[in-house]
C-alpha cells in the first residue's frame, strides 16, 4: 500500500478548504495515525474479489420522461447568499 504520509496542504487545496498552519500540523499527525491503522487492510487477500459500491445489487431504475412538479426557483433562491435577476451571483470567473 501507499506511504501513509499525507501532504495535508496539498490535499486541502484539492478539497478547496483553507487551513491554518496549526491545523495543517494537527491534521498531519492525526491523519497519519488513522492511515497507519488503515494499513491493516493490506493484510487481507482481496485477489479476485469484486468491489462493493452499494450493499445490495442495484440496477438502474428508469422512469418515463414526463415532467413532474419540482421545487420552484424561489424556494432555492431564498437560501442564496447573493443573487440577481432570479440567478445566483458569484465573483467573475472568466475575464472578458
Amino acid at each position: 500500500m501507499a506511504d501513509p504520509h499525507i501532504d495535508v496542504r496539498y490535499v486541502a487545496n484539492l478539497a478547496r478548504i483553507n487551513l491554518s498552519d496549526e491545523e495543517v500540523t494537527l491534521y498531519s499527525t492525526q491523519l497519519e495515525d488513522v492511515m497507519g491503522y488503515i494499513e491493516k487492510l493490506s493484510e487481507v487477500d482481496v485477489e479476485g474479489i469484486e468491489p462493493t459500491a452499494h450493499a445490495y445489487e442495484l440496477t438502474n431504475r428508469v422512469r418515463r420522461d414526463i415532467p413532474v412538479p419540482g421545487i420552484p426557483a424561489e424556494g432555492f433562491l431564498q437560501n442564496t447568499p447573493d443573487q440577481a435577476n432570479n440567478q445566483l451571483r458569484v465573483p467573475k470567473v472568466v475575464d472578458a
Binding site: I6, Y27, L31, L88
Partner: protein, 469 residues
C-alpha cells in the same frame, strides 16, 4: 405521567378514545421543552406555533394522527431550518421541500416537531462535534448522549417528546439509543428513502426512529418504509405491518453470538449484560449459536476509507455558492470556496473531508478506496453466511457505557475504534436495533440485534422479547 413521556401507541389509544386532543400532546411537548431542555440541549430549535397549528388540523383517523415527532437537524422539513449543527448553515438555510421521510410522516398524520442536535453533518459519536451546542445525557448528566443522533436520543430519553427520527451511517441511531436508554432502529439500506436527508455516506446512510418502545419503532417504520421514485436506492419490496407478530416471542429462533465481538476490548460488565440476556432468550426457547464474522477486525479501517471518501464528495456541495454562509468579499471564485468552507466547517468535518479527498486522490485510489470496497464485499459475505445459520445476531452496541463529556480524547482514531460493533451493519446494508438492557452503575446500556437484509420483522420481534424480559 406527562403526555410527552407517553409512548406513541398509548397516546394513539387515548386520542382515538377521545380522552385527549392532539393539541394537548403538542402543548405538553412545548411545555416540557421550554421547562427542561435548557439543561439538556436536545433541540436546536422548534416552532411552537407551527406545531400547534398542525395539531389543530390533525386527522386522528390516520395511523400517526396528531403525534409529534422530533426531527434530526439533517432531515429537511419544508419551511424549517436545516443546520446539520454546522455554522455553515446556521441562520442561512430554510428547507424548500420535505424529505420523503417527512412527507410520509405527514401523510400518516404525524407532526414534525423541532430540530434535534447532532454531531456536525452527523460525523461523530458524542454530539460533542456539534458546531452549535452541547447535549447532555439525560440518564446520566455529565456524560455524552452518544452520537451522532445525540439530540434525538436525548429528547426521547428525557421525555421531552415521545419519538424522534435520526440517521445512521455507522451507528448514529443505535449507539446514542444505547447510551441514553431508548430504542433505536437502523432499517436495512434502502428500506426508507434518503431523499431530503443531507448526504454523508450515500452507500451507508439510513433514516430510522428513536422511540421509548419497540412497538413505537414498528409503528414509525410502517409509515416511513417504501419505494420512493426520488431515491433510486430505495427498495420496492412490500412493506408489511411491522407491529404484527411483535409478541410472538423468540421460541424457535436461532440467535448468533459472533465470537469476534466478545474480545478483550469490551467492558466486562457490558459483555456480561449481553451474555445474560442471551441466556434469558435461550430460556424462552431461542437457540443460541456461536458464529464467526471473520473480517470484523477490518470493519473500522474499511469504514474510515469509504465513509470519508463519500463524505468528501457529498460535502463538496457546501461551497458558499447556492446556500449556506459565504465569506465576505472574496477576491475570486477559488477564495469564495476555500474561505467559506474554512469558516463554515468544524474540525472533525475538515478532518474527514481531507481524509476522504486523500484516499480518492490520484495514485491512492486503488490502494485505499478500491481495496476497501473489496474488503467490504468480504464483510458482507460474512453476514450472508452467518444469516444462513441464524435468524438474528446479538452483540453489544458499544464497547462501554457513555463516557463522561469532555473526556473524548484528542485522538480521533480512538473515537473511530469505538464504532466497531455498529459499522459492519452499514457496510453490509443489514438492519439493526438497539434495545435497552438493565443499566450498569446507573448508566444505560443497549443490546444490538442485527438482522439480514429486510429482516426488520425478525429483529423487532426479538427486541420486543428483550424489552419484556
Amino acid at each position: 405521567m406527562s403526555l410527552a413521556a407517553s409512548s406513541l401507541s398509548s397516546l394513539r389509544r387515548q386520542l382515538t378514545a377521545g380522552e385527549i386532543s392532539a393539541r394537548d400532546i403538542v402543548e405538553d411537548v412545548i411545555v416540557q421543552v421550554s421547562a427542561r431542555d435548557g439543561n439538556i440541549g436536545a433541540f436546536l430549535s422548534h416552532d411552537p406555533e407551527a406545531a400547534l397549528a398542525a395539531a389543530d388540523q390533525a386527522d386522528l383517523s390516520l395511523p400517526l394522527g396528531g403525534l409529534p415527532i422530533g426531527i434530526k437537524d439533517n432531515i429537511n422539513v419544508l419551511g424549517q431550518p436545516c443546520t446539520c449543527a454546522s455554522k455553515f448553515l446556521k441562520d442561512a438555510f430554510t428547507s424548500p421541500y420535505d424529505a420523503t421521510a417527512i412527507s410520509k410522516l405527514k401523510a400518516a398524520g404525524a407532526i414534525p416537531f423541532g430540530r434535534t442536535n447532532l454531531d456536525e453533518f452527523a460525523m461523530g459519536y458524542s454530539t460533542e462535534n456539534s458546531g452549535l451546542q452541547t447535549t447532555q445525557n439525560p440518564a446520566a448528566p455529565g456524560h455524552i448522549p452518544g452520537g451522532s443522533s445525540g439530540g434525538s436520543a436525548a429528547a426521547v430519553a428525557a421525555n421531552l417528546i415521545p419519538a424522534t427520527l435520526g440517521s445512521d451511517t455507522g451507528g448514529s441511531i443505535r449507539q446514542p439509543a444505547s447510551h441514553c436508554g431508548v430504542v433505536g432502529l437502523k432499517p436495512s439500506y434502502g428500506r426508507i428513502s434518503r431523499y431530503g436527508l443531507v448526504a454523508f455516506g450515500s452507500s451507508l446512510d439510513q433514516i430510522g426512529p428513536l422511540t421509548q418502545t419497540v412497538e413505537d419503532s414498528a409503528l414509525l417504520l410502517n409509515a416511513l418504509a417504501g419505494l420512493d421514485p426520488r431515491d433510486s436506492t430505495s427498495l420496492n419490496d412490500p412493506v408489511p405491518d411491522y407491529t404484527e407478530g411483535l409478541d410472538q416471542g423468540v421460541a424457535g429462533m436461532k440467535l448468533g453470538l459472533p465470537k469476534e465481538y466478545f474480545t478483550d476490548g469490551i467492558c466486562p460488565k457490558v459483555r456480561e449484560r449481553v451474555e445474560s440476556v442471551a441466556k434469558k432468550l435461550e430460556s424462552q426457547g431461542a437457540e443460541i449459536v456461536e458464529i464467526s464474522l471473520p473480517h470484523t477486525e477490518y470493519a473500522v479501517a474499511t469504514y474510515y476509507i469509504i465513509a470519508p471518501a463519500e463524505a468528501s464528495s457529498n460535502l463538496s456541495r457546501f461551497d458558499g455558492v447556492r446556500y449556506g454562509n459565504r465569506t465576505e468579499n472574496p477576491e475570486d471564485m477559488l477564495a469564495l470556496y476555500k474561505d467559506s468552507r474554512e469558516a463554515g466547517f468544524g474540525p472533525e468535518v475538515k478532518r474527514r473531508i481531507i481524509l476522504g479527498t486523500y484516499v480518492l486522490s490520484s495514485g491512492y485510489y486503488d490502494a485505499y478506496y478500491l481495496r476497501a470496497q473489496k474488503v467490504r464485499t468480504l464483510i458482507r459475505r460474512d453476514f450472508e453466511e452467518a444469516f444462513q445459520k441464524v435468524d438474528a445476531i446479538l452483540t453489544p452496541v458499544a464497547p462501554e457505557t457513555a463516557p463522561k463529556m469532555g473526556t473524548a480524547s484528542e485522538d480521533p482514531l480512538k473515537h473511530y475504534l469505538a464504532d466497531i460493533f455498529t459499522i459492519s451493519a452499514n457496510l453490509a446494508g443489514n438492519c439493526g436495533i438497539s434495545v435497552p438492557l438493565e443499566p450498569i452503575d446507573g448508566l444505560p446500556v443497549g443490546l444490538q440485534i442485527l438482522g439480514p437484509h429486510l429482516g426488520e420483522q425478525t429483529i423487532l420481534r426479538c427486541a420486543s422479547a428483550v424489552e419484556k424480559s
